[in-house]
Symmetry: C2
Subunit: 356 residues, 2 copies
Amino acid sequence: MGFAELKNDRYLKALLKQETDTTPVWIMRQAGRYLPEYRETRQQAGSFLDLCKNPELACEVTLQPLRRFDLDAAILFSDILTIPDAMDLGLYFSTGEGPKFERPLRTHADIDKLFVPDPADSLRYVTDAVTLIRQELDGLVPLIGFSGSPWTLATYMIEGGGSKDYHNCKGMLYGDPKALHRILEVTTQAVVVYLNAQIEAGAQSVMVFDTWGGVLSPEAYAEFSLRYMQQIVQQVSREHDGETIPITLFTKGGGQWLEKIAATGCNAVGLDWTISIDEARQRIGNEVALQGNLDPNVLYASPDIIRQHAKTLIDKFGPHPGHVFNLGHGIHQTVNPDHLKVLVDAVHEFGREIRR
Amino acid sequence: MGFAELKNDRYLKALLKQETDTTPVWIMRQAGRYLPEYRETRQQAGSFLDLCKNPELACEVTLQPLRRFDLDAAILFSDILTIPDAMDLGLYFSTGEGPKFERPLRTHADIDKLFVPDPADSLRYVTDAVTLIRQELDGLVPLIGFSGSPWTLATYMIEGGGSKDYHNCKGMLYGDPKALHRILEVTTQAVVVYLNAQIEAGAQSVMVFDTWGGVLSPEAYAEFSLRYMQQIVQQVSREHDGETIPITLFTKGGGQWLEKIAATGCNAVGLDWTISIDEARQRIGNEVALQGNLDPNVLYASPDIIRQHAKTLIDKFGPHPGHVFNLGHGIHQTVNPDHLKVLVDAVHEFGREIRR
């Protein structure tokens, strides 16, 4: 491909549990509405989907946070629902209500029509964005590709949008589990193909967001979410162009199931803020790297308090390799960007300190 | 008071970890919108708040599910936000948006105005309903009183309604924790006085609903939610009229903190469906009774599947005393009431079977 050599490999090294000079940090939704320059580009693009589907503008917003903050990774700007959109379910966004699908999966006939989208075709805008971002990064930091988990995608595909109680998808889970497995099988193949296309296009690490795995019972989580994420871990390219491609799994609300997540063979496990990172390290820190896990709401406090929370978290993890600092969920849109700068700099400062 | 003698004490016995002939069962929100007779009474009352504030109609809807199902307890029909309403924050319900407060807590001056409402005054409609229900039950089953937890009440009081990210209350938690503690201290005293008034009026057991404790970090949960629930456990009457009054604590999303919840000295711990009840029993079953924990969405499946899930859950808990069967959260409004009948009968059938 001829991409530039990587200058900052802290993030990739930490995922592989190798020593680094300080703790690497990136922030979920770091390219987002809390940044005025993002809001401006978004306005320019038109809708949110127009922004996602325009590789130049997606590249621009991906790079924006890196111009402000000393972040150790870039993450592809995209939506988690690109796959079901490419499956022809008709993704749209209604103001204030989040993502919706025109044609949710309600019958066996709907499910029979599902197919694995060809990333070279209907998802070309994503791989084009990946390659463009990787070029524009010019080796500054590594680029993370991502996908929603099959279960998380299925919740939207079945409900036709976000949900409070997951009435339809859990109704299917308990009442017609075979139908749900068929949806998850096709979706898993689509995720594998999609992530591999991102890796081919230039992604140096991939992450699977299982945003809604935590709404399941332990048995249902194992059968309907984790099982398919494990297939993804097994089938996604773990090496490309002579480089290892680490994979991170993140189940929001998955603190009770860390051992099972780590056992999939992934490189890193994302943590929300409902678990202490020292406890997580004791439980799975020998097997995998950990990513997380500050409560995003800490960023509403004063710089002093933000620094104090960064230090506490880094001290809790201790001077071991294998920690990627992040929030436990995406950054909120009303956060003051200057507060994020305080956090990112504090992570590097205290990360250096603890290694002395 | 001269209330009738209790005919069915399975629920109270199970909370005290005493042997019963079968597993007792009641259902969170058993008096609710899934019942056509509830919807009719609600229509008759006017608004939801009118229904809560009318002791005769509150009594009527409390008793409705007991006429249909072989339930082992009644729970006072009321709203969890009666306390902040009595604190003069101006509770109202806007269609489709849930509860709101006209005067949320936003400044120190707002907090300074908080006071412990006198239950004999502005909450009289609640204690009147309790006494009336207890009389009308005529000893059929015990009556459960309840309150929201201080933290859960505070989230509504500070946000002015429900919230997705708890921006304001967590902003206060991290940025001005003393102010939050002041809110929680007054609210805790209000909860204690309120629950004791319910016990005086005839409640035979009380439950604290910590619906939003699970959105906190472990440290914040201990400091801002559990600490105040522990004060409630210590200060609420645990005996009345010569009878023990068991207390149940339920933190939705609290599966990671069960040991800490059990250590408060409560009699029982409520479980949502994200933890296996056998694991919970191993962890805290020697100290407390357990209440729960079927995923409410199981009720969308067929009668056969509902029975199978009831059996599995009862088998997992095993033939030990100390299990109160319930859902892991309130019953959904679109559930078919006949399905709940299948569940309740199955619990008693399989509860008897496992004790043979």
